[in-house]
Point group: C2
């Protein structure tokens, strides 16, 4: 076998193992009986260990080196991804991997207890340990770069702390200005009670309608909605239905459809190159956010679903306007996962600022709660009554997922720039969306994003598609247009 | 690590891989979207290959040898199982494994075509190839034993062709005599239409009622009902609901519960010994058949479910007598999977006789259809109109599962002997079953069968539990008692 053939077989095997982990994880979250937990843990640990062996296999490094300088652009991108992944895995000592796994287990346990007691001090020692281990891990990967830059690579390769710092500062100030201009609140909750069996039919129709393939996926219910790529031809999404909240459940489904359609659109002919994957967490999030927000909260979309809801709930059919007001209700709150589209980024920016300061040694773990509360007061004008609704609200840090939060706002930034380029290319898109025709929108994303997979890193991909652009301005323009419009104000 | 510790870790890892294969297979049959088929094939092939590597690992042979003569009885049994499995896997050349896998794929394809066309000649070349490969495989495993004996080991270690031949001949003659005495038909189909949603509630209640744990399992729908042990604490069953046939669906669920409760009852402290598994396919089948037939078609059980059905279907509640007559409708037919409890064994005995003759060189593949039709005419008094309802009806041979069919009737034989011993030990069991109390029945099986796992081979286990016994007489006694009773005749 040539190096190319050997690499391809090896990388396909790695993907097969990831798919096995996907099935195990999906089953665990969707329908595994309670008694299966311990065995499932062992199954996932074993599959992960075998995947780790494949990732650190010295032959992988040799094949990558042998193929260096290939003319094949897709393979070149794939080799860059594989090299990054191989080197990270090789450089982290296995003791550090083991210690981190144990600290994560302890961290999760302590976080649950601390959140229940609304007492950050119960989680602080674990968090300190996780920060120390993440620092050691980053230094093992690359002792010459700043720790937080290395951590970011795990989620959004090609993105740097410096670029985030500058973009997020401008976005923060622009968002605060917008919030101020609209007087803090626009839109109006929809209310009502919505039979869940009919919601299931509704979500299924919407998902199929926008282009998510049920032949190559499934829509199921889970406590926390997620998408999992089990492999080419099997990409599953989950959602959650709320009897007293029609629109939150719907947003979740449309969001996961965005993730799912991205994965469903990655071309199978890239399998085995190392490029057959999403370009980054942030770009993944741009796909889910674009569908959830740009499309799913638009007037055109609300018009489309109003027709469907009229048939499903004839006795309580909401108007397109009521759906639009309900989908775009903005009001500062304490909890990120319930946040609207405008304030959401402020929640992320607080976390980014604190994480960055933590890893730069400018902030201690003990000072986190006070710093958190200060920032919420300054940016959102509200302050947590306790740590449970403040610094302890998210699970991420208990799993050592430092550098993950920025992906959410990166997704919104990418979505805004891609959305602007799309509207330039597809002048009739909103008419089509209003009629429930999503072929050209999805087609544009297929061509410009999905089919490019991870040939380029996300910043390069977006720059190529959008040309000269300023993502912060693109996002602020978008937000001003929708929410300024609702409040009857325009950008100064 | 000691040899014991190393062996234990290795064997647990093998079990973990089997569990992963269990999840992949369950998902494939229960809910995988159509697009996932190719990737799932690759996932299962990879997991099987890794399991094969673990099974053939030379260190496994060394640990087994090092622990030879241990004082620990359970481990001794486990080592016997592991040695058998390791040696079989080591002795079969990998080319033969590959050729067999290809021949199975071709065999399945040809079998589907042949069955559709009702033309055995389309399947004959594939079947000949599969027989040749199975013969080569058996000779590779043990050149000194008869091929069919070696094939039987795969499903029912400890069972020999000679013992089956003699038992099955007596059972065949005794069954024909019983059929003759009851005039060929007893009982009466139940009929009616049964709302499927309520059937689901009914099956769930029955499954829980008899002792299948939903905390450690699930009941789902599948085209062909099956049970899968995903691991300790997660053993799932599936069933099929028929709107126009209440009792066939129920029998399926009770049957799978029998398999499921066996797996759920294997003690976790045997994990890592090689003994934490069912003792054989035949003993597995004894558990499903015992619950399906001995319990599930009894007058007491029919009385219990009559009460439940009265609540679920108040407008069409069947009487206990109607359920009993419907559950025990005996009438010779051509298709094994639809056969009643009396004629079922004749279907198996025909297959056993033909398989045995095939591998002894006494029958050629080309002569199978004629031999099949002759035996059906002789034993059941009916003859297939074509090969699709004759020799082509079952999928097993297309997958090279030669030696598998006898397990079904072995299961009935074991169930009869175990049932007799149980009734001796539990004089009040039928009163309890009538009241829906299954604790002592399940408890007896737990102690005598499930908790013994695969410490002994099935024939030894049953002999120890039942003492001096004649399984053929036990089964004929049981069948005469129930079906002679229904027909008003007793054994001469």
């Amino acid at each position: 076998m040539t190096a190319r053939e050997s690499l391809s077989a090896h990388v396909r095997e790695m993907r097969t193992l990831e798919g096995i982990l996907g099935v195990l994880g999906w089953d665990q979250q969707v329908l595994m009986p309670p008694g299966g937990a311990a065995v499932r843990g062992a199954q996932m640990a074993l599959a992960s260990q075998i995947l780790h062996e494949r990732t650190t296999d010295p032959r992988l490094g040799e094949w990558i080196a042998a193929l260096d300088g290939t003319d094949d652009g897709a393979l070149r991108g794939g080799l860059r991804n594989l090299k990054r992944r191989h080197e990270r895995a090789v450089r982290i000592p296995s003791e550090l991997v083991g210690e981190t796994a144990m600290a994560q287990a302890q961290g999760f346990e302590d976080w649950v207890k601390a959140k229940e007691a609304a007492d950050f001090s119960l989680f602080a020692p674990s968090l300190q340990r996780l920060v120390d281990l993440a620092t050691q891990t980053a230094k093992a990967i690359d002792p010459d770069r700043a720790v937080y830059d290395v951590l970011l690579d795990d989620y959004d390769p090609g993105t740097t702390t410096a670029s985030l710092k500058s973009m997020f500062a401008r976005l923060r100030d622009g968002t605060v200005e917008l919030l101020d201009a609209i007087g803090g609140e626009v839109g109006e909750p929809l209310g009502g009670k919505w039979d869940v069996e009919r919601q299931k039919l509704f979500h299924d129709k919407v998902a199929r309608g926008i282009g998510y393939s049920m032949e190559q996926g499934r829509l199921d219910e889970a406590e926390h909605p997620f998408t999992v790529g089990i492999g080419h031809g099997d990409v599953r999404i989950t959602t959650h239905y709320y009897e007293d909240d029609l629109l939150t459940g719907l947003s979740g489904t449309v969001h996961e459809c965005g993730h799912g359609m991205y994965e469903q659109g990655i071309p199978s002919d890239l399998l085995g190159t190392g490029a057959a994957e999403a370009a980054s967490m942030g770009l993944h999030e741009s796909q889910s956010r674009f569908w959830e927000n740009t499309i799913g909260r638009s007037e055109a979309f609300c018009g489309w679903i109003a027709g469907m809801l009229g048939e499903l709930y004839p006795e309580q059919a909401p108007s397109a306007r009521a759906l639009y007001l309900g989908s775009n209700h903005v009001k500062p709150g304490l909890i990120r996962v319930y946040a609207d589209e405008v304030t959401y980024n402020l929640h992320i920016i607080v976390r980014f600022e604190l994480e960055r300061a933590l890893f730069a040694g400018e902030l201690s773990v003990a000072d986190l709660p006070a710093a958190w509360n200060d920032r919420y007061r300054e940016l959102l004008g509200i302050e947590p009554g306790n740590d449970a609704e403040g610094v302890l609200q998210d699970v991420h840090w208990s799993g050592a997922a430092f550098g993950y939060f920025p992906s959410y706002t990166l997704g919104n930034l990418y979505a805004a720039s891609l959305g602007k380029a799309m509207q330039r290319d597809l002048p009739n898109m909103w008419d089509e969306v209003g009629k429930g025709e999503f072929g050209s929108v999805l087609g544009w994303l297929r061509t410009n994003v999905h089919e490019r997979a991870h040939i380029e890193d996300a910043p390069q991909l977006v720059a190529r598609v959008c040309g000269e652009h300023d993502p912060v301005e693109d996002l602020l323009d978008y937000l001003w247009s929708r929410y300024g419009g609702l409040a009857g104000v325009s950008r100064g």
